[in-house]
């Protein structure tokens, strides 16, 4: 076993930590930094509940070793909310207004993916088909996806 010093920026705040080599970014966010908005589902890259932005790219944080986040800029669901005025991000508002969640377990990952999709696909209007394909890495066992897609369409296309 080995421990490693790392520095990283999470939601604009700098951190210096000592992390165990076998701990993932997900472990560190939840257990060391107390940022439990990022959820742990499968730990195998399948469900997307742990999705965060690592240097502006969405990744499953369960498949990133914390040592590999050394020097990185990380954004989690907590940072999306407080980004400007501490108010909800438009995607969060749209999810609430449209009832795009039930148990809410998938929601943080779903919203982090949705936020990435708004940047990844510049074409407007954004099509439903494009959103469905881009959400392939986020599973939801409750909603049937329809309202999630509607919420993203609303934010993308107004």
């Amino acid at each position: 076993m080995s421990n490693h010093p790392i520095t990283l920026t999470v939601n604009k705040s700098p951190y210096s930590l000592s992390v165990a080599a076998h701990h993932t970014l997900l472990d560190v966010l939840r257990d060391d930094l107390g940022l439990t908005g990022t959820n742990e589902g499968c730990r195998m890259g399948d469900c997307g509940a742990c999705t965060v932005h690592l240097n502006q790219l969405r990744v499953p944080s369960c498949l990133v070793l914390a040592v590999n986040a050394d020097g990185a800029d990380v954004q989690t669901i907590e940072g999306l909310a407080g980004e400007t005025t501490g108010e909800h991000h438009p995607l969060q508002e749209a999810f609430i207004n449209r009832g795009a969640l039930q148990c809410g377990f998938c929601t943080p990952g779903m919203i982090m993916s949705a936020a990435a999709i708004l940047d990844e696909i510049p074409e407007r209007p954004l099509s439903e088909a494009a959103i469905r394909e881009a959400l392939a890495g986020n599973l939801c066992r409750c909603t049937g996806y329809a309202k999630i897609i509607e919420a993203i369409l609303e934010v993308a296309n107004g």
């Binding site: 490693h4 080599a21 076998h22 993916s113």
Partner: protein
């Protein structure tokens, strides 16, 4: 939770090879999307992880002076999709990467890891076999260049004894036309139930060169030589497509598992061969 291991981060290939030599039970790490999942499931274990991500030379995509396309082993699936150079040289690789894994996983998973992961129907590896790709491999006795087909034929790299680090994938020769076909349970984000990649070169309609590859052939993607020889010298027509597809089904060696039976996979290799050739007929 992952089991504890020692983490090493070499900055050169030579350093990585040396670390592998002195540590037993060590495994290389690239994007981690295959290895960490296998470790989480208890299907792989490692006392030492040697992270390749700090070796800068593995991150380049370049057109060499000889006109070959050299893709560094650490290039991610996402970077393949975004690369204009790869898109113009081998568009089928872009299409294949777009059909691989999930958008999040594509931001991490690499071309080298796709080849070395030992997945029986790894998407990129199957397409690369049809493209006759070569790999540059760093070993204890220096760097060697070999056809990917030979590299995969050796052993499953995930349990390798000898040190073999892929540094780059190389494409060369005639560009031709290629098609990649993949069958999944879902429409996306799944490893193939069956897959087929076909590359052809034609001269006024006649097939002068052809390579057909399928995954799940005794644990790896491999060429379908009988189907290839049937098509070579022919003109692609609905009739030759049908015969080639039938030969593919009759001669391919597939392995069955809990996801699909051997018989189903053989049938599907035929279906996917037909789809690929039909697409190529439209392209020509």
């Amino acid at each position: 939770m992952l089991r504890p291991f020692v983490y090493l981060a070499p900055h050169s290939l030579a350093e990585a090879v040396e670390m592998r030599r002195v540590h037993d039970n060590a495994n290389f790490l690239a994007g981690g999307t295959a290895l960490l999942v296998a470790m989480e499931r208890g299907q792989a274990s490692a006392e030492t992880i040697i992270d390749l991500k700090h070796i800068r030379q593995l991150r380049e995509i370049e057109l060499t002076a000889e006109g070959e396309l050299k893709i560094g082993a650490l290039i991610t699936l996402r970077e393949i999709i975004d690369s204009q150079l790869i898109r113009s040289y081998a568009p089928v690789l872009v299409q294949t990467a777009q059909l691989t894994a999930t958008p999040q996983v594509r931001n991490l998973g690499t071309i080298g890891g796709n080849i070395a992961s030992g997945l029986a129907a790894a998407d990129l590896a199957t397409a690369l076999i049809a493209l006759n790709a070569h790999v540059l491999v760093a070993t204890n006795s220096g760097e060697v260049r070999m056809p990917l087909n030979d590299f995969l034929g050796d052993t499953k790299v995930i349990s390798q004894q000898e040190t073999r680090i892929i540094s780059a994938v190389i494409l060369s020769g005639a560009r031709g036309h290629a098609s990649y076909q993949k069958l999944m349970v879902r429409n996306a984000a799944d490893v193939p139930l069956a897959n087929v990649a076909i590359w052809t070169q034609t001269d006024s309609g006649q097939v002068t060169a052809v390579r057909i590859a399928a995954g799940n052939c005794a644990g790896r993607p491999a060429r379908l030589m009988e189907a290839e020889s049937l098509l070579r010298g022919q003109i692609i027509t609905p009739e030759t497509i049908q015969r080639t597809a039938l030969t593919a089904t009759e001669t391919v060696q597939q392995t069955g598992d809990s996801r699909a039976s051997e018989a189903y996979r053989r049938r599907m290799v035929g279906v996917l061969t037909r789809r690929a050739l039909t697409q190529l007929l439209e392209l020509l």
